[in-house]
């Protein structure tokens, strides 16, 4: 890279007297480059006459001596990240001095320049009113990036906190493939201004020189035409060749900066999954009879043909299975009953009949697609073949045309009569539970769900409550009032009644209702602090062990009495970073593992609802859910007034969703391939049999496969997932998903058919498991290493053929992998260390990641950020037309405009962000009269006006897209610290935060490691 730019007449030598040194009000750009302290300010202010396009920059340009000197680029109008704002015409670029800023409340530029690289959430906002990424809306005020970071090592030092929101390389309006000329050496801006928006202040009202005194690396540039002469020659190979490769892979150019050899990426051209999860259609075209990808997704829809090939695929090789996923609207899984015959299966490998089996010998035999054995067709199943070799009855046989079917299982698939749905509730009634209001919400919700519990009229229900004693309730149908029986001997638990603690709901309905009505009043004066959780768990086990079923635990404090009592831990920050760190995330007492194993053995599935504001040891409690195919719901510091709605929805969903009872799942595949490890919430009953006491549509399981034979000779590999379960109606069924995938011999094909969603899901589960045996740091490193290895191998495929130095190449199918990897490392479960996330929340987040489906995981990792104010304000847009709120914005601070209203939705909660200078109308309409009050005390309710109704409609729509979790909305105002920090800013994964890299920097790290081979 040339360090001199002879062809750049616009960069005269540095003027002896810089006009910028002095705060001249006329000068719009006055920044002094604060970069890396000792360096001279790389940028020289421009001469006062602003709108001179010809010589806008008087600085010395990219001189070799000053690595930090990039070319200055005017901000192109259209490049702001908020697409909803139409790009202003170029001509309007002239920054009217002080123009739009005048209206801002006086918020002077914060003097926070020295605070570099601090997490904005740490409460610095008090000094610096956050300056939202207001740029998008203010095209008149183009900021030109000036002091771009010269080198990566120096980059962190550049985080001039009050750098105005990054507006990037103006010269790069498009992607390089479209604009060859534009792609030379853009100053990589992104890493400069990571999420520190807490620190940029709005421009002062006296805005003649708005940025005068602050040292951010940016100065607004005078309007000018895109400078033609600024490109550095030769930093990248000519575009032509790159375009030719477009179909092979995607590539990002690393721009070498003048004066240094340190490349960076243009943040704007980095790929972002703004469309959410996209299920690949590749395989469906190839094998139309496969099951839908919502049930089974492979990390790559191709099986490597040899072990050596598989070993070159460094990303996980496996599948993510969600056996009971909700079928798309209106569709039903066909139910096939073979009675009186048995289910048709291959004699040798036990594969169920599926569309890929071929019938021969006039229909008397069928050949198994998995093991190629020729089987006899049972006489009841016989049908003739037509001229094309197909069975004549193929249209009446969904199992021969569809990848997903359900067989009715005959008696040989039962070890006992099918169990009825059983719900047992174990509720903490100690004082903290009473105070939080949890009991009332739970009782009311259960009561309202009684009609919808699956399996009427066989459903059974039971209750027990506990504090320092255990209370059972006799709900015999002949009683009018439930009878309470107290057991206080915690060392020798016994059940006071053999029956009648678990009763048939339809028979004892009135008793159950009476009980639920009185539950919250019964304990309202309870002052008991203790929690005999372990003994209560044991007694619940004794009640349920006859039948199995679902155990719902509502726990509000740390178990303190009897077996399984737990200690307070996790307070010791010194443990972090040592070899003992992972112990905090493991169950403390082996009691919980033993109980979980017993539960699983007796077909009991445990869902844990934890509510405490103090430490409750989710790591230990969660174990119960982990091995019993359960789920952990965590509501830190539960207050019924605030979190009640969320609990109500999630508990209702838990109770009413279709559930498969006493299930086992197995995934079969042809010889030569074997599933080796399984990841998720279940217990292995044999090497490949997952025991799932209760499973539902919200749970997914991941597994990895390995090749057992050195060479696969077949062309196609078949996978078959079979879930044998008892439906709520009492029928034993087998749900079978069949999938065929090609066997490939080329690594490139494996990459081409890769599925980012499944890979990310497997990677996250592996990472969470790693945190149980190693440090957080190690888990993050492992994720990064995995990605690097995968990309390096890919690079080796192509880099030899093409000159691709300075380019990072990656397959089209994996273009979001890097971002998701970053998001994973910054997710609640893996982020930071001791101080970043409370231990319980971290463990709960880990449990969530281990169970959720791919779609939900991707949403959690890269949540949607949507601008709402336009939709709310524009009366012309019909309220039903929600299209405008489907546009997701990149998750970076600069997407936020202080005049806007944004909603951040990760599928588990919504955060509604009010810009600092949002029009008071909006705030008033949405929040009611107390709009000026502290937002943390305000809850969002529907007000009687159109705007509020519209917001409610948006929220409803977001909630309806995925009903598994309820997104409670949190309100936060810009600059409200520290709330804004941990609610929103810490989750803007593309921005640099604390010790975490931003997106561009992360890409740089990866691409460097990729090239270091």
């Amino acid at each position: 890279m040339g360090t001199e730019n002879p062809g750049r007449p616009t960069f005269p030598s540095r003027p002896a007297s810089s006009p910028f040194g002095a705060a001249q009000p006329v000068t719009p750009f006055s920044s002094t480059g604060p970069v890396a302290g000792s360096e001279p300010p790389p940028y020289r202010p421009t001469p006062p006459a602003p709108p001179q396009a010809a010589t806008p920059f008087s600085s010395a340009g990219p001189a070799a001596a000053r690595p930090g000197a990039p070319g200055f680029r005017p901000a192109p109008p259209g490049r702001f990240s908020d697409p909803s704002i139409p790009p202003p015409p170029r001509a309007s670029n002239a920054p009217p001095p002080g123009g739009p800023y005048q209206q801002f409340p006086a918020a002077p530029f914060p003097p926070t320049t020295q605070q570099q690289q601090r997490a904005p959430m740490m409460g610095q906002a008090s000094q610096a009113p956050p300056f939202p990424a207001s740029l998008p809306a203010q095209p008149q005020m183009p900021f030109v990036p000036m002091g771009s970071p010269p080198s990566q090592s120096a980059a962190p030092a550049h985080l001039g906190p009050n750098a105005p929101p990054p507006t990037f390389q103006p010269t790069f309006p498009g992607y390089p493939s479209k604009q060859a000329g534009a792609e030379m050496q853009a100053p990589p801006m992104h890493s400069n201004f990571p999420a520190n928006q807490g620190n940029y202040g709005p421009a002062p009202p006296a805005a003649a020189s708005p940025f005068l005194s602050h040292q951010g690396g940016y100065v607004p540039s005078p309007p000018m035409a895109p400078p033609v002469g600024m490109q550095q020659p030769g930093s990248v190979p000519p575009m032509g060749s790159v375009q030719g490769l477009a179909e092979d892979f995607n590539a990002l150019t690393m721009q070498t900066r003048p004066g240094t050899m340190d490349p960076l990426f243009d943040p704007k051209e980095l790929p972002r999954p703004l469309e959410g999860d996209v299920e690949s259609k590749n395989l469906a075209d190839m094998y139309p009879m496969n099951c839908s990808p919502r049930y089974v997704r492979l990390t790559t829809s191709a099986v490597p043909s040899s072990q050596s090939l598989a070993s070159r695929w460094h990303l996980p090789l496996g599948a993510v299975v969600c056996p009971l996923a909700e079928p798309p609207g209106g569709e039903e899984v066909p139910i096939v009953n073979f009675a009186p015959a048995s289910v048709v299966r291959c004699r040798r490998c036990r594969t169920y009949v599926n569309p890929y089996m071929t019938f021969t010998e006039a229909g008397r035999k069928f050949r198994c697609n998995v093991c190629t054995l020729l089987n006899d067709v049972p006489s009841e199943y016989y049908a003739q073949l037509d001229a094309t070799g197909k069975r004549v009855d193929i249209n009446q046989r969904p199992e021969l045309t569809k990848g997903t079917v359900e067989f009715v299982a005959p008696a040989e698939y039962m070890v006992r009569p099918p169990m009825p749905p059983v719900y047992f509730f174990l509720i903490d009634v100690s004082i903290s539970a009473v105070r939080s209001g949890m009991i009332e919400v739970v009782a009311n919700t259960i009561k309202s769900c009684l009609d919808e519990l699956p399996g009427f009229p066989r459903t059974q229900i039971g209750f027990a409550t506990f504090d320092s004693t255990i209370h059972f309730y006799n709900m015999k149908s002949s009683l009018t009032q439930p009878q309470m029986l107290v057991v206080s001997d915690l060392d020798d638990i016994f059940i006071p009644l053999p029956d009648d603690l678990l009763v048939n709901l339809s028979e004892s309905r009135s008793v159950v209702e009476t009980f639920l009505d009185s539950l919250s009043t019964m304990f309202q004066d309870n002052v008991n602090l203790e929690s005999a959780f372990g003994p209560a768990l044991k007694s619940a086990f004794m009640v349920m062990s006859q039948l199995g079923g679902k155990l719902l635990i509502f726990q509000n404090s740390l178990p303190s009495l009897g077996v399984g009592r737990l200690k307070l831990r996790g307070d010791d920050s010194r443990v972090y970073g040592t070899d003992k760190e992972h112990g905090l995330r493991l169950p403390e007492d082996p009691f919980y593992k033993q109980m979980a194993a017993e539960f699983s053995k007796y077909q009991i599935s445990t869902n844990v609802y934890a509510f405490s504001d103090k430490y409750t040891d989710i790591a230990s409690l969660g174990t119960l859910a982990k091995y019993t195919a359960g789920q952990v719901y965590y509501y830190p510091a539960f207050q019924s007034a605030i979190h009640g709605e969320k609990l109500r929805h999630e508990l209702r969903r838990d109770l009413t969703r279709e559930t498969a009872w006493e299930a086992v799942m197995r995934i079969r595949c042809a010889k030569g391939v074997r599933f080796t490890t399984y990841h998720g919430n279940f217990m292995l009953r044999s090497t490949d049999l997952l025991a799932l006491p209760a499973v539902d549509c919200d749970k997914a399981f991941a597994m990895q496969l390995s090749l057992e034979e050195t060479l696969l000779t077949t062309q196609t590999m078949y996978f078959q997932v079979a879930l044998l379960y008892t439906a709520s109606c009492g029928e034993r069924r087998i749900r079978v998903h069949t999938m065929a995938v090609p066997v490939v011999t080329e690594l490139a094909d494996i990459y081409r058919l890769a599925d980012t969603g499944a890979i990310v899901s497997l990677l996250s589960r592996l990472a969470i498991e790693k945190t149980l045996s190693q440090k957080l740091e190690d888990a993050r490193t492992a994720v990064q290493l995995r990605i690097v290895k995968g990309l390096r191998e890919y690079r080796n495929l192509y880099a030899v053929q093409h000159r691709l130095a300075n380019r990072m190449i990656y397959p089209e199918s994996l273009k979001f992998l890097m971002l998701y990897g970053l998001a994973l490392c910054r997710s609640t479960a893996l982020r930071g260390g001791y101080g970043d996330v409370p231990l319980d929340e971290r463990c709960a987040a880990g449990h969530i990641i281990m169970t959720v489906t791919i779609k939900r995981l991707l949403k959690l990792l890269y949540p949607s950020l949507i601008r709402l104010d336009e939709y709310l304000l524009k009366a012309s847009v019909p309220a039903d037309d929600l299209k405008s709120v489907e546009r997701r914005l990149p998750l970076t601070g600069e997407s936020l405009d202080s005049r806007g209203l944004y909603i951040y939705d990760d599928g588990f909660r919504c955060i509604i962000w009010f810009g600092r200078v949002i029009s008071p109308d909006i705030a008033k309409n949405l929040l009611g009269a107390d709009f000026a009050a502290e937002l943390s005390k305000t809850t969002l309710g529907e007000q009687d006006n159109e705007m509020s109704r519209r917001l409610m409609r948006v929220l409803e729509k977001l909630r309806n897209t995925d009903r598994a979790y309820y997104q409670l909305s949190h309100l936060v105002r810009q600059g409200e610290q520290p709330k804004e920090g941990f609610l929103l800013l810490a989750n803007l994964v593309e921005d640099q935060m604390g010790g975490n890299s931003g997106y561009a920097e992360w890409m740089l790290q990866i691409s460097r490691q990729v090239q270091q081979s």
Binding site: Q594, M683, L684, T687
Partner: protein, 151 residues
Amino acid sequence: MGLDLIFWLVICFPLNVAFLASAFYQVLILSDLESDFVNPYDASSRINYFILPEFIGQGLFCALCLFTGHWIMFLLTVPVTCYHVMLYMKRQHLIDVTEVFRVLNAEKKFRIAKLAYYLTIIIITVFRFVCDALKIAYSDLLCFGFYILTA
């Protein structure tokens, strides 16, 4: 001399045969588990039943070797004893039924290694026993011959 014989024959040999049998039984159960002939609950409870007795017996044997002055045997057994103590201290000595399939291969290898180890000890034991017995017999023979000669 006679004491040594007793040590080899009455203590060392039967103890190690017992260890060997226990290790063999555990390997057997693990391979059964692998091929799905037993369920993990039974398998782990059966294996766990034997683990502590084996650890204790092994520890005692090691101590005995020390106190009877069988240095070589002591040196051979002390690493294994230490390893057992370490496992016990870390509470990793028992098979965890929930994770048994994840550790199946490692546990199996560990037990096969132990099997080989106990077998080695037995061979040494037998060898030493025969040696000692021969020595005694030989010296008896010598004594006897000397006695005849002198008589």
